[in-house]
């Protein structure tokens, strides 16, 4: 509401502040008062005025009959004595469907031309014209606008610079055809107007024609007429509006065919009796419309495409930097089993099951929390410092294992170790779970739309969508495991495997660095220091535990010390991870140009006429950080944005934030990154792709 008010204020200011001239510009239209007097202004000479309107893309203004909603543009002239203005020569309109409604109007360029009648009473060296125009400009929202225009047209000299535009618009005005034969009869209890038109131009014969009634209150604009050609006669059954508010005996209509600039205007003399608009007391015993039984509306992106996008998005997840190390673990597993196709396929299926079930479980938790009114979105699990710390611990354990500090077999209690040995399937399943745990924050391309869709669907369908996402992620591995040719193509097991395993420890440790950085964003230096201390104690404990060759006593001592150390560090660390406190992390240099986001700030900046670029980001989102370091770190781009006076706002979703979640929901997204360009006067921002390039940003903001 506040935003609307500000927008209106801004529009009013923009219009009012300007001294009247021939041009009025808003964000939606560029309107100019133009004249066409090729033989000067004198009685009997052609003199035209016109309002030339250029609409911003997808915005439209209305025809004289606007259809189901909207209003026609009105022109009020102030002209000197002896000069009178005629009616607007409306060009042939277009049908503009809006959901279940239909409007008639114009997009792109429009010239509303008006003929002037000049009498000898008119004296003067210039014709001073003032115009007060009102128009309603709509896209999916409507903005009423008005403009005051002034123009001085020389009387003696020819004014013809807009000759082409006047020529084109007058050619697009529907024309009447001599010899056209029409009839219009009310049939079917005045529910249908049966129209016949003969004698239409040859260019229209046999073609599909559109019917534009000039009266607003008779025809069901969204209803489709049933039409056919009967020789050279066009016949149409046009549905009458159930809420007709006019009962004309004569009505004009325009018929158009594709590819013709101008339609044909026909006069229809309506025969048959109009029933009274409201038969008094005639409460006919019609069946009440069971509104409650009509089919539920479906979201814009159907489930089929949604599932396809989820599948593709899931497959792309495998390439994300946070998933690849996990995949490399599976490659090791692969070569270990290369001799047995059965165990490979079994492992593949178990891995897939782990991935899919984890996705469904996470999505289920997310849906349940949202149903409970929590303002959260995808990646929510990474907003908890405890979860981040647990991930860091897990990755460290994996890395130390890969590096050879200890073996799981010697560390795990014998029952668990034998479980792993006897059930490689359980191992594969857990790898799948692990892969999902680390993949979930990576909003790969396509996932944004699929996740947004998921939250508009009933839970069962939403869960299916997440299952598709999981299936997509598991698919490449599953296919590879089911295709022995690929498994055979892998190098034979040998000494190289030990080296490869050790090398793989380092991406794992790098992941720990990344997690520590996120934790630092959430909890500050204390939290990170605590984590590092825990990791050191953990490494010590694992080393102590792994010393299987040690004598019983020495091992017990080492283990005791390790347990005490680990316990102490954990006791110290846990409180600092409990809740993300808004630790004031000082902005790194170069970040000062980014202001913190709020919806009010966006509205205020838009009201000032500034375009706003919003970076919806989070420290735990790898794609976000990649874009931030590359494209959004590009000095030249930033300088150009500044030169264009584009306001830069950053919505940091690292911690839970209800306002940011609400805005993401409004934009039909449920995860980050989201890059949005809010322009003054537009209700919805333009969304950029999730993987940015400087060119994408430049194009979106029309930078050089």
């Amino acid at each position: 509401m506040a935003r609307w008010f500000l927008l209106l204020l801004a529009a009013a200011f923009a219009l009012g502040a300007r001294a009247a001239g021939p041009v009025v510009t808003t964000d939606e239209v560029h309107a100019e008062l133009v004249a066409h007097a090729p033989e000067g202004v004198a009685p009997g000479k052609p003199v035209w005025l016109g309002l030339a309107i250029s609409h911003a893309p997808h915005w439209h203004t209305y025809w004289k009959n606007p259809g189901d909603s909207g209003l026609p543009t009105t022109l009020a002239w102030a002209l000197p004595a002896g000069v009178t203005a005629g009616e607007i020569a409306w060009p042939t309109p277009k049908r503009l469907p809006v959901g279940p409604l239909v409007n008639y109007g114009y997009e792109d360029k429009l010239l509303l031309a008006v003929p002037l009648a000049v009498t000898p009473e008119f004296k003067g060296s210039t014709l001073d014209v003032r115009l007060s125009a009102q128009w309603l400009v709509c896209k999916d929202v409507c903005i009423p606008q008005q403009g005051e225009f002034a123009l001085a047209v020389p009387v003696q000299a020819a004014t013809a610079i807009h000759a082409n535009a006047f020529d084109a618009t007058l050619r697009a005005v529907p024309h009447e055809v001599a010899g056209a034969r029409t009839s219009a009869e009310l049939v079917d209890g005045a529910k249908v107007l049966r129209v016949t038109v003969g004698g239409l131009p040859a260019a229209m014969q046999g073609k599909a024609l559109d019917f534009f009634p000039e009266s607003a209150g008779v025809i069901d604009h969204a209803g489709k007429p049933v039409t056919r050609w009967d020789g050279s006669t066009w016949r149409a059954d046009v549905p009458i509006s159930p809420q007709r508010f006019e009962s004309p005996s004569q009505m004009h209509a325009v018929l158009t065919s594709a590819g013709e600039a101008a339609g044909v205007r026909v006069a229809l003399a309506i025969t048959g009796a109009w029933p009274a608009l409201a038969p008094p007391g005639a409460a006919a015993a019609t069946e009440p419309l069971a509104a409650a039984t009509s089919a539920p509306p479906q979201p814009a992106l159907g489930l089929g495409p949604g599932l396809a996008f989820a599948l593709i998005g899931g497959m792309l997840l495998n390439l994300m930097p946070c998933v690849f190390p996990i995949l490399s673990l599976k490659v090791l597993g692969f070569t270990g089993h290369a001799h047995s196709r059965r165990s490979l396929v079994g492992g593949g299926l178990a891995y897939s099951a782990g991935v899919v079930l984890s996705f469904v479980a996470l999505a289920g938790a997310l849906l349940a929390l949202r149903a409970g009114g929590e303002q959260i979105g995808w990646g929510f699990q990474l907003q908890s410092p405890g979860f981040i710390a647990a991930l860091a611990v897990m990755f460290t354990v994996i890395a130390l294992n890969l590096a050879g500090l200890f073996e799981f077999g010697s560390m795990l209690p014998s029952s668990a170790a034998s479980l792993r040995l006897r059930h490689p399937l359980a191992d594969s399943f857990l790898t799948g779970v692990l892969a999902v745990a680390v993949a979930s924050p990576c909003t790969a391309p396509f996932m944004g739309a699929a996740l947004g869709l998921a939250f508009t669907l009933p839970p069962a369908q939403a869960l299916t969508l997440f299952a598709a996402l999981g299936t997509g992620m598991a698919l490449p591995y599953l296919l590879a495991s089911a295709w022995p040719g690929l498994a055979r193509a892998l190098p034979r097991p040998g000494a190289w495997m030990a080296t490869f395993k050790t090398v793989m420890a380092f991406p794992m440790l790098a992941t720990v660095v990344w997690l520590a950085w996120i934790l630092g964003q959430q909890t500050g230096t204390d939290g990170v220091t605590a984590l590092l201390a825990v990791l050191v104690a953990l490494a010590f404990a694992l080393w102590a535990w792994g010393r299987a060759d040690e004598s019983g006593l020495a091992r017990a001592v080492w283990t005791g010390v390790a347990v005490l150390l680990l316990g102490a560090t954990l006791a110290w660390a846990l409180p600092s991870w409990r809740e993300a406190h808004a630790a004031a992390t000082p902005a790194p240099p170069g970040e000062a140009r980014w202001q913190p986001w709020s919806a009010e700030r966006v509205a205020a900046l838009n009201a000032e006429g500034r375009t706003v670029f919003v970076d919806f980001t989070a420290a735990w989102c790898v794609t976000c950080q990649f874009n931030k370091r590359t494209v959004l770190g590009d000095a030249q781009l930033m300088a150009d944005l500044q030169a264009r006076n584009v306001a830069l706002l950053r919505a940091d979703w690292t911690r839970r934030d209800a306002a940011i979640s609400a805005e993401l929901t409004r934009l039909n997204r449920s995860g980050v990154p989201v890059y949005a360009v809010y322009r003054p006067g537009q209700q919805f921002p333009t969304l950029l792709p999730e993987i940015l390039t400087t060119q994408i940003v430049r194009d979106a903001l029309a930078l050089p």
Partner: protein, 203 residues
């Protein structure tokens, strides 16, 4: 895998509901049940025996604001409800549209406007709006005590966004309610609705 209803069927059904079968003045008003901004189920049948006014509303629409900023709509609401008429404000804006308001936001907005509607109905799936054939905000309907639709159309006869026009405009709803109160048929039973198109969910 779960099976889903194909989308096109639903779209066609909605198109039919939206155009061909819209409510007709002089006939029974479509029955409906919707949830109000407080989460309570409200049915048209609850008000059998009373006159019911339906007002399509969208706080983001400049034409709605024209009638609220000038207190014109609130005055009509107060006048009607004081006479025992039920006034239901209906918001059919689809979720996900910029103009969408949650039930809580809608209730807060109505309160901030000092509106006197009996209830504010959340119709984000557009079922009620489509059943009545509502096209614009505002778009006004009156259902009489017998459940017959007796008025459909605009709030007044000055289709502009200029709040000053309400002073000189003829208020169709006030006139229709006066006719009903006097036991007369509604003189102007169908008029031109004007305003923003209703932001229906995609059908």
């Amino acid at each position: 895998m779960i099976m889903f209803k194909p989308v096109p069927v639903a779209a066609v059904a909605l198109w039919l509901a939206g155009s061909t079968f819209a409510a007709t003045v002089g006939q029974s008003a479509p029955a409906f049940t919707a949830t109000d901004a407080a989460g309570k189920a409200v049915s048209l049948a609850d008000f059998k025996g009373r006159t019911v006014v339906l007002e399509w509303v969208n706080p983001g629409c400049p034409y709605v604001r024209k009638h609220y900023d000038s207190a014109n709509m609130q005055a009509a609401q107060r006048r009607a409800t004081d006479q025992g008429v039920v006034w239901l404000a209906v918001n059919s804006t689809a979720q996900g549209h910029y103009d969408y308001r949650s039930p809580a936001e809608m209730a807060a907005w109505m309160q901030s406007q000092q509106a006197a509607a009996t209830a504010t109905l959340m119709d984000s799936d557009g079922k009620v709006g489509r059943a009545f054939g509502a096209r614009t905000t505002p778009h006004m309907y009156i259902v009489d005590a017998k459940g017959t639709l007796v008025y459909a159309g605009g709030i007044d006869d000055k289709p502009s966004s200029n709040a000053a026009d309400v002073k000189t405009a003829k208020n169709h709803v006030n006139a229709a309610l006066a006719d009903i109160a006097a036991g007369k048929p509604v003189a102007q039973a169908v008029t031109r609705p004007y305003g923003c198109s209703i932001k229906y969910s995609d059908g």
